[in-house]
Amino acid sequence: MESEMTEDRKITKKERTEQPDGEVKQVVDFALEAGRILLKNGGEIFRVEETITRICQHFGVEHVDIFTLSHGIFVSAENEKGEVYTRVKHIPLSGSHLGIVAEVNELSRQIAGGKVTILEAQERLVQIDRIPPSRARTQVLGAGMGAACFGYLMGASLAESVVTFFIGCLVYLWVILAKRCRLSKIIINIAGGIMITLCAIFATRLSTASMVFSLDGMIIGAIMPLIPGMAFTNAIRDIADSDFLSGTVRMMDALMVFVYIAVGVGIVLMTYNNMTGGFIL
């Protein structure tokens, strides 16, 4: 059995498509890979399941069962002879790349429309998986822009918004660097909160008689890039689709990040408050 399996893998792709057994494996592997890419980059549970079902049924694998969690996919398919093929894939909770989600969605649409063969689709999927994130510089500037604009909406003055832009950039730079070093979320967010508050306190020291900087607008704006909007929104959507287990996991993820940020900001505010006796805050 084992040697047959390895033999089967050595067969070229063209020959494999002619064999019913190989086909089930090929289709399920491909569908699972599409699901993995979706889930890893921030797709919802129902989208993952729908994509896998759509791909399998279009390529002729009728009997397929899928069980998707927020960090794992289980697929089991059966051919006419009653032979079962099962794959389990673990997908750690990780980054977010909505561009890739959009591309996989487009590919799955084209497959359902019958415009691509499985070999073309496999090549496209490999290319999609390799789409790099935007350049770090662009992302940092985006974070700064978001922080400054939302700070202004939440009541910061124009000068405070300009400071918030720089704090937002700095914090997101830290997030990107820390993610490259694979630091845990706890450290990233607590240190992020500390960094924001320190910078904001430093900025209040720069205030002159004509231009007074207040802390709250700057801090509120600058914590925006840290807020886990994606985990929160996906959690709600999963719960709305009755995927309570995955929804709870993602909601917990989002809530913990909120807590870490609050702890980071709180530590510095408390120390500063004690040092100055509460006069300046």
Partner: protein, 155 residues
């Protein structure tokens, strides 16, 4: 509200949402849609919030409702996942002020105020959840039918 305030609110909610869209690696062709979604949600929030006897959580509900509705319409129109517009569009409504104030009152030992602000931000978060759930729960077929009936005049 003066004209200048209205313009700056429109501009900031648009640009802020686009900033977050960049952060989440949204493809360039969707930036306009993302910005418009965030702007629409924030304007709705401001309009409702300006009425008397209406709390900010109710206003957040209406804001979230508009954001999700608009994301759904755009996702049907541009044939892409709703997530793209929804995630960046919801950001202006996130109760950042509430969270900050809660932490601030806790560390300055004004616990009554902290509880007030904390519960208020929880209410806002829950209102956003309700806004999202209501629109998302409409089945796809029904939504498409209504959409085409309104937009294209056919079913």
């Amino acid at each position: 509200m003066t004209t200048q305030e209205i313009l700056s609110n429109l501009f900031c909610s648009f640009m802020g949402t686009v900033g977050f869209a960049i952060m989440y690696n949204v493809p360039k062709k969707y930036y306009l849609g993302c910005g418009a979604t965030g702007m629409a949600g924030w304007i709705m929030f401001l309009i409702v919030n300006a009425q008397n006897h209406i709390t900010s959580s109710v206003a957040s509900f209406f804001g979230a409702f508009v954001v999700v509705l608009m994301s759904r319409i755009l996702s049907v129109k541009m044939k892409c996942p709703i997530t793209i517009f929804l995630i960046s569009g919801i950001f202006p409504l996130v109760p950042g002020v509430g969270i900050y104030n809660t932490v601030y009152y806790i560390v300055t030992n004004q616990l009554t105020q902290a509880a007030l602000k904390g519960i208020e931000s929880l209410k806002i978060a829950f209102a956003i959840v309700m806004g999202i759930v209501i629109v998302v729960s409409v089945p796809r077929d029904v939504f498409h039918k209504v959409y085409y009936w309104f937009v294209a005049g056919k079913d």
